[in-house]
Homo-oligomer: 313 residues x 2
DNA sequence: TTGAAAGCGCTACCAG
DNA sequence: CTGGTAGCGCTTTCAA
């Protein structure tokens, strides 16, 4: 492997001058620059990136923690991050967490070990207080609405769109709904937002038999349908967690010749379009882009809100 | 920042001994280990990963080149890669290419600069010969069937499933089809496989008006439907590029009250399930897993084939 | 404008 | 079992 020292020796200049040429710095004579560049070409030399990173103390890479890639919430945020990173020299490193707290913590440790310059949590299970302890090692962005002004946060503002959806349902005479959530209200920020909007609109608690958690895929939706029908309660609409799981629950009803309640999806996915389901677009790609800006300190604010849109169909 | 030298000084042992403790190596007395570990705790020390990488000359990360993430071909392969990497210490770095040859080459250069230990091309535009020039810098895996025994290759064996699909269509009296492809046959390995199977089955060239390229999404499918209907040719089935674009083309027919030809999708997506379209599952997650094994030299073979499955519906 | 040399923080070899 | 030390390849400061 040819090193900067080889170039220095062969060109007759010093390592420092070669370094200056490599980094396009000033204070190098035209002839020195030329001579050095020629040797670089000849020896087919390329600087070692790790050595550079070590010297500079940075890695030019951002870690993105995501539980899995089976939900549009994550893939859409990721798309936004990639789009924003595309025009920079930053690398995006995928960090699958499976919602395992130990894994999440190990990624924080890696931030500390300077594996990444910054970290984005598309979702998390680990406590915020622990995350705060790691902020001194680099910017950490959470894709959720946080009250704490000291933690970087990007999120979609869901309430208005949720209220609009409930209003729309009401106009159509639908007043009693089943709610599908990804995770429980106590650990999921999005679940919390959904329930908050529900309470604000109806001024009451939903029947607990009508709230089902752990629903993210078509299959989950199908099983949720089964459960809802079994534990039958009176309801006239279903507020799903995504268009895909909405499609699953719809299929359960169809397969069992049951009359379909009105179903509202989320995420504006292809399945919702195909089945003409009303849905809510949370603009997650934008969330991802902003998260990247914060993680790379291209943005100076700490909290960024993106508006969700209700799409009636 | 506390370094290994601080730990050495504070514990009264040498840098080497501390390093041994850090790396869980032998030849360290229990007391030394204990004393050193205590100091490590006290000073809240953590080894710098970049320095480690530099010393060892490796990065523990694999780059994954992908044109975009809007097609299940890529997301499914990526899922497989992540699943395989999950149980290792390797990091997965996403490298968006947008099919830009210059970008693809820059990633090869990064492999050369030791940014990655290995590279996976989920798809590529750059010439194979150029890739071969970079093999000396680390393992490079292409997710396509390559004749060249010297390039690592993982791919799904599509022909048998394609032939089965054509046979299935024939049994249902469908003999003249329109073909949707992602990219042209000359640059796309999957397009080539499709056309090869077509020719093998029908013993003839398809009508060129019935071959449409650049189709990967629902929207693309919709537009392809428009085009097919406009340049009307006699055909009784459509062989789509994915279930999603199959859904798009189907919708075009429905929107214009045209009688639907038989549509076969690919990739076994949710949309195909919802619309009950026959499809072909290319097992791309498995392809991704194997690609990772090759890129990390966990596998000694150079070519791995994964069988596609036709799913009649 | 140039060069010498001191790091960056760690690993690995060799000697004891 | 332990320590000294020479790297790993580059950047950066300081002096010339």
């Amino acid at each position: 492997m040819t090193t900067i020292r080889d170039i220095a020796r062969e060109s007759g200049y010093s390592v420092s001058t070669v370094s200056r040429v490599l980094n396009n710095k000033h204070h190098v004579s035209a002839e020195a620059r030329l001579a050095i560049q020629q040797v670089i070409e000849q020896l087919d030399y390329v600087p070692n990136n790790i050595a550079r990173d070590l010297s500079k103390g940075r890695t030019e890479s951002i870690g993105v923690v995501l539980p899995h890639t089976n939900h549009p919430y994550f893939t859409q945020i990721l798309d936004g991050i990639l789009a924003a990173a595309f025009v920079t020299d930053y690398r995006i490193v995928l960090l699958p967490s499976d919602y395992d707290i130990l894994r999440e913590q190990s990624y924080l440790e890696q931030l500390r070990c300077k594996v990444f310059d910054g970290l984005i949590f598309t979702s998390r299970r680990i406590e915020l207080e622990i995350i705060k302890n790691y902020q001194k090692y680099g910017p950490i962005v959470c894709c959720e609405k946080l009250e704490d002004a000291n933690v970087l946060s990007v999120y979609s503002v869901r309430e208005p769109a949720y209220l609009e959806a409930f209003q729309w349902l009401k106009k159509r005479g639908k007043n009693q709904g089943a709610i599908l959530l990804s995770r429980g209200e106590e650990i999921s920020a999005t679940a919390k937002a959904t329930m908050k909007a529900y309470r604000a609109f109806y001024q009451s608690e939903p029947d607990e038999k009508l709230v089902i958690t752990g629903v993210t895929t078509y299959q989950d939706g199908y099983e949720a349908g089964e459960k809802l029908v079994r534990d039958y309660e009176s309801f006239d609409y279903i507020f799903a967690n995504s268009d895909d799981d909405a499609a699953g629950i719809r299929q359960y009803y169809l397969d069992h010749d049951l009359s379909l309640p009105l179903i509202v999806g989320q995420e504006n996915q292809l399945s919702g379009k195909l089945l003409k389901l009303p849905t809510i677009d949370h603009q997650l790609s934008k969330v991802g882009q902003h998260a990247f800006f914060l993680a790379t300190k291209q943005s100076t604010t700490t909290h960024i809100a993106v508006m969700s849109h209700f799409i009636p169909r």
